[in-house]
Amino acid sequence: MSNGNKKTVLILKEKRQVPQKVKDNLKYFVKIKKEILKALKDKKMTVPELSEVINKPKDEILYYLMSLLKYGFVEVDGIDDMDEYFYYKLKDNG
């Protein structure tokens, strides 16, 4: 909803400071998102494989990977030979 010609977010921005931890959280997400998407660019990977490439804990990789799955950036591409870990690849969004 525009307030006159002014976007309402600008009105709130005049009154409200964005906390530093919110900015840091965004910065971190953008960074790890780039790393995951870059790693998956060439080949499909499992969570442990991604963890090794990106050098981040597996639980953290899973959390961000599942977020990216939800947002439509990645998709599942089968399971490994031991039926333990799924492979994930970049989603072809046309």
Partner: protein
């Protein structure tokens, strides 16, 4: 802050829009009463709408809840307010009530939102999704979940970077960062307290390692993993994304345990764990599922058959209280317990542990009333002043309790309880309308 001094009139105020509150509101509305149904959450449906399936029928929980939620949303006699709480409730001499209603800003004009999710797509932020119990992320501009009602976006202002991307992306211009908290007073003839329950916090039992060991999760987190709107592509271990093949359940986590202040049985944990075990056998056909229990309380209609069905499917039931969990380097978990049948202390390894957490009363209900004392029972649930005569009656005339606000119970019992509360409330409305009430 906007103070709207205009008093709005309703026949009934229903606090809490879970399955009990929703049912009570519908019953009252169908009798021709004007109902204000409020919930502090962004959506109606309570915890039931978040469940995978219900026991013992294994019907889809969302499939039962959504038609009801839709009926609530469309009912001409029901006004639904989300992100809303009541306070300062006063009972007047004629038996009616006045309440202060406070609605938090959603920063979205719900009526104009089409649920297109373009704002969500544009939002760059990722934060823990509370509707997935922290297992995955969500945006700061978000729709709580696909079957939320209202299915409208909301802005999580605490995590918003105020970049304005959502507002630019919104095709209907329904995002409004100028919204503020709204307060106004309503009058009503009766109040139904359907404030539901909260889940036990398992960090209060440190020996189970919840919060420290990634593969120790709560039953609600498993419930989300089993639901169609799940956080992962299938059931996975949070530590590394492995498909688990040996899952343990620890029943009575925060129930029947005086050491953590929850001495009573939560009534639902045995059966929801049995249900989840059956669902896991379907989702992970090769997995071994073991339930560690004190007693299996299969007391309801069809419950014992449901328990027997789980046993026949291969779910293992071990009578024994787990004393301690330790974590191995690969994320697997060692459970140390006394097997009651053999009398031996045993250790077994599992790759994932689900804590079947108990249910607790929601706090704060008594503080809503200013000139009346809504009493609680010894376990802090709303006291039923005459449980045999009417389980819905409370210590305040005209205030009725529905669902788990009065004690632990399952979904059918919550609906039954809501039926009792709404019929008592309808009767009270009639008496108040005929000036037959003096307090």
């Amino acid at each position: 802050m906007q103070d709207n001094q205009k008093i709005k009139e309703y026949d009934a105020l229903v606090i809490g829009a879970g399955i009990a509150g929703g049912e009570a509101a519908l019953n009252l509305a169908n009798l021709g009463n004007k109902v204000l149904l409020i919930d502090k959450d962004l959506t109606v449906g309570g915890k039931m709408i978040m469940l995978s399936k219900v026991f013992p029928t294994l019907d889809c929980s969302a499939c039962i809840t959504t038609p009801k939620v839709s009926e609530i949303a469309r009912h001409s006699n029901i006004t639904v307010l989300t992100s809303t709480e009541a306070s300062d409730i006063i009972q007047k001499d004629d038996g009616t009530f006045e309440a202060l209603i406070t609605t938090q800003p959603r920063y979205v004009v719900v009526e104009d939102c089409t649920g297109c999710q373009l704002c969500e797509e544009a939002c760059p932020v990722n934060v823990e999704d509370e509707y997935q119990y922290g297992l995955a992320g969500r945006k700061a501009a978000f729709i709580p979940f696909s079957i939320a009602s209202p299915r409208a976006a909301a802005i999580d202002i605490e995590n918003c970077t105020l970049c304005g991307a959502c507002e630019r992306a919104c095709p209907t211009h329904c995002i409004d960062f100028t919204q503020t908290e709204e307060k106004y007073t309503i009058s009503c003839k009766t109040v139904v307290a359907a404030t539901g329950f909260q889940l036990f916090d398992p960090t209060l039992i440190p020996r189970y390692g919840f919060g420290r060991f990634k593969n120790v999760i709560t039953s609600m987190q498993m419930e989300r993993q089993l639901a169609p709107t799940r956080p992962f592509n299938t059931v996975l271990r949070p530590s590394d994304g492995k498909m688990p093949d040996n899952i343990a359940y620890i029943l009575c986590t925060g129930s029947r345990d005086k050491t953590v202040g929850t001495p009573i049985c939560s009534q639902v944990c045995c059966m929801y764990s049995t249900k989840q075990a059956q669902l896991l056998m379907g989702a992970l056909p090769m997995a071994d599922i073991t339930l560690y229990y004190l007693h299996i309380r299969a007391f309801g209609k069809g419950f014992n058959e449901f328990y027997a069905q789980a046993q026949s499917m291969g779910v293992e039931f071990v009578k024994g209280k787990v004393a301690k969990i330790t974590e191995k380097e690969d994320g697997n978990l060692i459970l140390r317990y006394e097997d009651i049948n053999t009398g031996k202390v045993t250790e077994t390894e599992h790759d994932m542990v689900v804590l079947s957490v108990g249910i607790l009363p929601n706090e704060g209900i008594t503080g809503l009333f200013t000139n009346r004392k809504l009493e609680l029972d010894p376990f802090n649930y709303v006291s039923q002043s005459s449980p045999l005569e009417s389980p819905a009656m409370t210590t305040v005339d005209g205030v009725f309790v529905a669902g788990t606000a009065s004690g632990p119970m399952d979904i059918p019992d919550s609906i039954l309880s809501a039926g009792a509360a709404s019929s008592e409330a309808a009767n009270y409305i009639r008496k108040v309308s005929q000036n037959k009430v003096t307090v």
